[in-house]
């Protein structure tokens, strides 16, 4: 995809060629608008986000329950018949396709649809915070290491190597398990063990090297360009040059990285939660819902499939849109996230 136009460079249409008066972002937007598949999947992601944001409204107005409320002993009317939410044998009801228990109940008689939306809020929130952490720190580290080179670069690059060589999931569960027990207390920065910020911070840190390394490489080439020399000769300090000269040139790379990191952060959250090192119960997240569901596979397969499909759709939406955005912004970019 990154180089889709490469073999057919001759048939590059007029809109692809840089024209006078059109900036790179405008051009990217024009290209992206023609990519209907990417737009459709982007819309899918937006719909999922909006649905998750509306979770309290759905819970109150449609399902008449809360994400953690038990209805083990309740009965509901499905198609005129009265049915147990959880049968005496402990088998939860499957999807009713009606307002209450639209997607069925879990073994505690909790409404799966409500938990799905609340869980999505948690998964998305963790993904977004983690992405923010990765992007901010990777940009700063990459820029500083690439601009100053020498000692600063050596120290920062070894630090990145350290995180990178540490198996991502192992680092995640080691930190996740230890923090879930006691939280962090670094004076000003305090976290409860069951806070959503714990997995968010861990995931954010894990992905820093994957983004900081390419950023550093880009800054290394940028700093040799004439316009940087010009700024230096004018007497601007390093901070000003990094902020006003280098950062704007990194913007499109940063934009391309955001969906990549977001998709992988949501997946890693699910993986950590599956291993018990992510979101702590009773907070729902898609990962914890899937892992709870897997334990009950014979009796309630919907408990695994509902959050699983939702997670795949959400991540797929981000990935397809991100792929399209990457093509649109820079058809020759070879940015990718290695696993």
């Amino acid at each position: 995809m990154a180089t889709a136009q490469a073999p057919s460079a001759a048939e590059t249409s007029a809109a692809d060629a840089p024209r006078a008066g059109i900036g790179p972002y405008k051009l990217g937007a024009i290209r992206l608008r023609r990519n209907k598949v990417a737009l459709a999947f982007g819309a899918l992601f937006v719909v999922i986000v909006v649905l998750c944001l509306l979770a309290p409204v759905y819970a109150k107005q449609v399902a008449h329950t809360t994400p953690n409320e038990n209805h083990v002993t309740d009965q509901i009317r499905v198609g005129g018949k009265l049915r147990d939410v959880v049968s005496p044998e402990g088998v939860p009801i499957g999807p009713t396709w009606h307002g209450r228990f639209l997607l069925g109940a879990d073994q505690n008689g909790r409404d799966v649809a409500v938990r799905l939306l609340y869980g999505g809020r948690n998964s998305l929130e963790i993904g977004l915070i983690a992405t923010l952490i990765t992007v901010v720190f990777a940009t700063i580290i990459g820029t500083v290491a690439g601009y100053f080179r020498g000692g600063a670069d050596a120290v920062l690059s070894r630090g990145l190597d350290l995180i990178w060589a540490y198996p991502a999931v192992l680092l995640g569960i080691a930190l996740g398990t230890s923090l879930a027990l006691g939280g962090i207390n670094l004076g000003l920065f305090k976290l409860q063990g069951n806070s959503l910020m714990v997995p968010a911070v861990i995931i954010g840190v894990v992905y820093i090297p994957y983004m900081a390394k390419p950023m550093r490489g880009q800054v290394l080439t940028l700093r040799e360009k004439e316009f940087i020399d010009a700024a230096r000769v004018q007497g601007f300090g390093p901070l000003h040059i990094m902020r006003s000269e280098i950062l704007p040139n990194l913007a499109s790379t940063i934009l391309v990285f955001v969906p990549l990191i977001l998709a992988n952060a949501i997946l890693l959250e699910a993986g950590l939660s599956y291993l018990g090192a992510g979101v702590q119960p009773p907070n729902p997240s898609w990962g914890t819902m899937i892992s709870d569901g897997i334990r009950l596979i014979p009796s309630g397969i919907h408990l695994t499939f509902v959050p699983g499909i939702m997670l795949v759709l959400c991540v797929l939406g981000i990935n397809v849109f991100g792929d399209g955005a990457r093509d649109a912004l820079d058809p020759r970019a070879k940015v990718r996230l290695e696993h």
């Binding site: 060589a165 999931v169 192992l170 080691a174 699910a270 599956y274 990935n319």
Partner: protein
């Protein structure tokens, strides 16, 4: 060249040492994580706890504890806190499982990733390319444990075509071994097939524009030969080097999710259980072992690159 290799080796050792310190510190930082308390059990008297603390050296300063543990790691005498079993023996026992998983899945994802990538690139922009792109993105977007659950539900629980997880040793029964490994191989490969086909595709599309490809064409070689001999062969370099790193990561416990989803008693599963028990020595050893593979393979790849491609040495 020798200097380059030595420099790479030194930085590798530094990174490994730092990783061991980091792992040690993470588990030291745990509140209520006093290992003596856990070794002694819930009903232990304060005297027992104190005795354990003395014999294990938990009363010493933290850098001494680190030195003691690392000495045990290198002499192969490191013992887990909660199980009192030799960690190196445990890992030796688990390694065949992880190797079975990694080798089978590694071959599948490398072959299929290359095949799909080549097909995609040959039909760039066409229907087949789009179809394969969508499949690749679905593969990349699916968490391995969810895929594992879907496979197990339909192919093991519902129809009974495959066994419901577990492992049979290759030396005990090769047929049963294969039978038990097929689903884990598929589940683990899917993500990588999606990812590798994308890398292979863009690598080919970069290579077709190289001068030497035009030269080959202008010599009048058949298109098929140009593709096989010149384009695909050169495009394989990034894919193979990536494969080395991913393979190393999986042997070092990176397939933790697959192993636990299919109940395979491999290195990753061992690490996950040890982390759950807050047992430092096994985690320390597995992490160092995994990091060693990753760092070692990446050093090997760098050195090989420099050997094969003089331009890399010049630019670095």
């Amino acid at each position: 060249m020798v200097r380059f290799a030595i420099r790479r080796l030194v930085s590798m050792i530094v990174v490994l040492a730092a990783i061991s310190v980091l792992t040690f510190l993470i588990f030291q930082a745990i509140p209520n994580g006093d290992p003596a308390q856990r070794l002694a059990g819930r009903t232990a008297t304060p005297e027992t706890v104190a005795a354990i603390r003395r014999t294990w050296g938990f009363d010493k300063p933290i850098y001494d504890q680190y030195a003691i543990t690392m000495k045990k790691v290198f002499t192969g005498k490191v013992v887990s806190y909660t199980q009192s079993l030799n960690v190196v023996d445990e890992i030796k026992r688990d390694l065949p499982v992880t190797f079975s998983l990694a080798i089978g899945a590694g071959i599948i994802w490398l072959v299929l990733g290359i095949v799909f990538g080549v097909l995609s690139a040959l039909h760039a922009g066409g229907g087949l390319d789009r179809g394969l792109t969508v499949l690749a993105l679905i593969g990349i977007s699916t968490p391995v444990f969810f895929l594992a659950a879907v496979l197990l539900y339909f192919l093991a629980f519902k129809t009974g075509v495959f066994p419901n997880g577990g492992y049979v040793s290759l030396t005990d029964d090769p047929v049963q071994w294969l039978y038990h490994m097929i689903l884990p191989w598929i589940a683990l490969s899917v993500l990588f097939i999606g990812f590798y086909s994308r890398v292979m595709r863009s690598s080919i599309l970069d290579t077709v524009n190289e001068d030497y490809v035009r030269t080959a064409r202008s010599k009048g070689i058949s298109e098929r030969r140009v593709m096989v001999r010149h384009v695909v062969r050169n495009s394989l370099i990034p894919v193979i080097s990536l494969w080395g790193l991913d393979f190393a990561a999986i042997i070092g416990g990176g397939a933790i999710l697959t192993e636990s989803a299919f109940n395979l008693p491999g290195v990753g599963n061992f690490a996950a259980q040890s982390i759950g028990r807050l047992d430092v020595p096994p985690v320390l050893v597995v992490v160092m072992f995994g990091a060693f593979f990753v760092v070692f393979f990446s050093a090997v790849v760098d050195v090989l690159y420099a050997l094969l491609d003089p331009r890399i040495r010049l630019s670095s």
